[in-house]
Symmetry: C2
Subunit: 210 residues, 2 copies
């Protein structure tokens, strides 16, 4: 199999991470998710929780109060740090992609690595099955959530992911044109779906080798 980069965009609670991990196992290639945050942590002066907070969130740009009175370019510290994290993240994604075949979860990797022609997957599901999945891994506080609260929470995470993606890529998160395959996990067995998807990618790679 030739060099392959698989990127996974995913709705929160859809099982995209599990799908990606299984895909990497089936293909016998590297898997990157939170490892990327730890690497950003090493390379920048920011705290891990700050990095975690901004690495998939859109920066909030607040013009200074004298904005209307000045044509001078202003520097916004929050924005600068945010861009710094994004730039470091992009550098890491590029390094990772050069090391060898891999599966990368989120972080706009499909866009950052577009010149490498990654196989771009988007994983999604209906809200009921996402709530069910979230409940299974809920912590003590989350165990008290009602379905209504879960819905609000899930939608708020997706909203942030969408805003991050749209802000940095200029294209629409979850829009079919930006993906090679879109997998709805609502009624499916993620293990089986990842297996067949891995077989499809293997075929694709070997046909590109010829």
């Amino acid at each position: 199999m030739s060099h392959v980069i698989v990127t996974i965009g995913r709705e929160f609670g859809s099982g995209g991470r599990e799908f990606g991990r299984r895909l990497a196992e089936e293909l016998g290639i590297a898997y990157y998710d939170k490892e990327i945050l730890l690497e950003i942590d090493k390379r920048t002066p920011y705290s891990l929780s700050y990095i975690q907070n901004v690495s998939e969130n859109r920066p909030v740009v607040l013009p200074p109060i004298n904005y209307g009175n000045s044509f001078l370019l202003y520097k916004d510290a929050g924005m600068e740090q945010h861009t710094d994290v994004f730039r470091t993240q992009s550098d890491i994604l590029k390094e990772i992609s050069e090391k060898g075949s891999c599966v990368i979860i989120g972080r706009g990797a499909d866009y950052v690595l577009r010149d490498k022609h990654p196989y771009r997957i988007f994983v999604y599901a209906d809200i009921a099955s996402r709530i069910e999945r979230c409940k299974k891994r809920a912590n003590d506080e989350e165990k008290t959530y009602t379905d209504k609260k879960w819905t609000r929470y899930i939608r708020s995470v997706d909203k942030k992911r969408r805003a991050f993606y749209d802000f940095y890529t200029g294209v629409e998160w979850g829009r079919k044109e930006n993906y090679d395959l879109m997998v709805n996990t609502t009624n499916g067995d993620i293990k089986a779906m990842a297996h067949h998807c891995a077989m499809m990618i293997k075929d694709l790679m070997s046909s590109e080798e010829r």
Copy 2:
């Protein structure tokens, strides 16, 4: 394998029909596409070309000129015939789905047969690869088309499909929430993709049997 209904929605020129045919072959089940039109032809007084024209097109509703002056319900002949074709088509789809496992191309079958929980696939591709595919099967007149004309033509067919689907189903054509799998054929080998997709559906069916 238990009873399975697979529906294929597709953008014009994306290879959705080929994908569906190969899928049916791999699964060893029936395949329905234009056969449905012939069956409508048998059951209604309308000509095949009329049926072909309306079976995936939204009806154009023209209020009569006395519309503003009357509260009486009016009957629009065009609309009635259109609905007649759609109703006959829906009946045929239901009969087909009861006969046994099958793959059905287009015709809002995913919506009409929603109670049977079909496996709903949507096939799409970028405009360049769709033009290329169309050119390969072009007739003499179409062989004179420029890429610009092909783009206009492809978009106009899709526009009709979308309008038909949205009109009769009340949901949005090509929206990911309405499908189990969305396959982009731009860079892929349709034969290989249909093969792996068939394997996935087989797995899904056998796990539902258990």
